[in-house]
Amino acid sequence: MLTIENTTKWFQLFSDKIIENKDYLSELDTPIGDGDHGNNMARGAKAIQELLKNQQFDTLSDLFKNVAMAFIKSVGGASGPLYGTAFIEMSKASKETSNPTELVATGLDGIKRRGASDVGAKTMIDVWTPVLEELKAGQLTIEKINADVEATKALVATKGRASYLGERSIGHIDPGSMSSGYLFETLLETGALE
C-alpha cells in the first residue's frame, strides 16, 4: 500500500534516478526524437526534489497533486503533460484507494487520454500497460520492467516525434518508456509492493 512516507521516498528515488540518467535519456531521444527527454525529465525531477524538500503533505492525494503540478510546470514537451496527467489522475484516485496497482491503472488511463494513444504506438504506454498486468499478478520485477522497456525497440512509432520516422524508428528504445521503467523500478525499491 502507498503511504505519504513511501510515496515521498518513491519520488525521491525516481528523481535521483532521472538526474543520474539524464544524458542517457537524451541520447535515446536523439536518433528518433529531438534529444531533450533527459533534460525535460531532469527539470521535472529537480522541481520534485525542490518540492519534497520544502513542503509537508497531509494526504497522499495532496502529495500526488503537488508532484503533478511541479512536474507540469517545469517540464513541457510531451513528457510533462503525460506524466503530469498520470500523477493528477493518481491524486484523484488516491482519495479512495492507496493500492498501487489501482493507482497505476488510473495513471495509465490519464496518459492514454492525454496522448490520444494506446498500446503499440511505441510510447511509454507500452511500458505502463505490461507493468500494470505484472502488478495485478503480483509479479513485478526489475527484470520484467527491463524486458518491457527493451520490447519497445521492436515497435514502429505512430505517436510522438518518433512517428515522423515511421519504420526507421524500429530498433531504438523509446525514451519515455525508459523513464517510465525508472518510475516502476524505483517503486519496487520503496518496498511498497511487498
Binding site: G35, D36, N39, R43, G76, K159
Partner: protein, 331 residues
Amino acid sequence: MKKIINDPKNVVSEMVSGLVRAYPQYLQKIEGTEAMIRSNEASMIDKVGIISGGGSGHEPAHAGFVGPGMLSGAVAGQVFTSPTPDQIYEAIKAANHGKGVFCVVKNYSGDIMNFDMAKELAEIDDIEVKMVVVDDDIAVEDSLYTQGKRGVAGTIFMHKIVGAAADKGATLAEIDVLAQKVMPNIKTIAVALSGATVPEVGKPGFELADDEIEYGVGIHGEPGYRREKLKPSKELVQELLSKLKDAFDMKPNDKYAVLVNGMGATPLMEQYVFMNDTLDQLADENVEVAFTKVGNYMTSLEMAGISLTLFKIEDDEWLSYLNYAVDTIAW
C-alpha cells in the same frame, strides 16, 4: 559547442529578457513566465487574441511576430521543447479581451498536449479557446495511423492570416473556420546542410559530411528522407519543388505565395539565389506567384539550410491578409 551564451540552463530566460528589453515597444514579459504579450494594448481591445508558441530555438519565431495585425502573444518553451500549460494559460489570459483566444500550434505531441491543458485551464475561467494545428511539412508521410506531418515554416503564414483576420474584427468561430480552410493549402519542405546544437545537449542533433546534404529535415533536426552530395541551387529547388508539385497536384494558373526560409546559418545571399531559381521553375509551371518572402523566419538554431513553403491562394482575401499591414519585429 561554440555559442555566445552563458549557462546553457538560463539561455531561454536570458534570451527572453534580452528580447523584451531590446523591444519594449513590441513586447512585454508576463511576469513569472517566459511568455510575452503585445505592448500595444489598445490594438487588442475588442478583438480575438492570437497566441502562438512552442520550443525556443526558432527565432525570430514566435515573439518576432507579436504586434498589431499579427500575434497578441507568444510563449517560449525550453529549446526545442513545448512550453508548459501554466505559461500558455497566462498568455491566453493576457490575450483575452472578451472575444476569446485562438492558438496556433505546430503538430508535435508536446505542443498539442500542453496547449490542450492550457485550454482546459482557460475554459475554467470561461475564456473560449480554439486552435489550429499546423502540419505543413510534406517530408513526413501523412497517414491515418500516425501523428501526421510536422509543423514548420508555413506556420508564419498561418500567423499572418489569422492575425489579420483578428485585427479586422473576425470572431473566434470565423477565425477557426478560416484557419482550418487555409491549413491544407500550406506545404513546406526543407534541405539541410548542417545540424543544430541544443545548448544543454552540447553536440549537434545530426552531422553531415563536408559535401553532404539531407532533404526533408525538420526544424528540430528530425531526420529527413534522403542524404546525398551537395548540388547546385537549381537542382535543390528542382528536388523540393517536385515534391511540392506532387503534394499540391500543381496546375497552370494556380496562384501561390512563396516563402524561402533560412534555417539559421545560411546567408541571405544563398536564400536570394535559391528564390531566383524557385521563381524560374515556378514560371516554367505557368503558375502565378502572388506573394514572396525571403529570410530567416522559422529557424533551427544554427542549422544551415533552407525550407521552401508554398501557400496555395484559393481565395483572394487570403492574399489581402498576407499583405495586411502589421507592426512586428520580424515580419
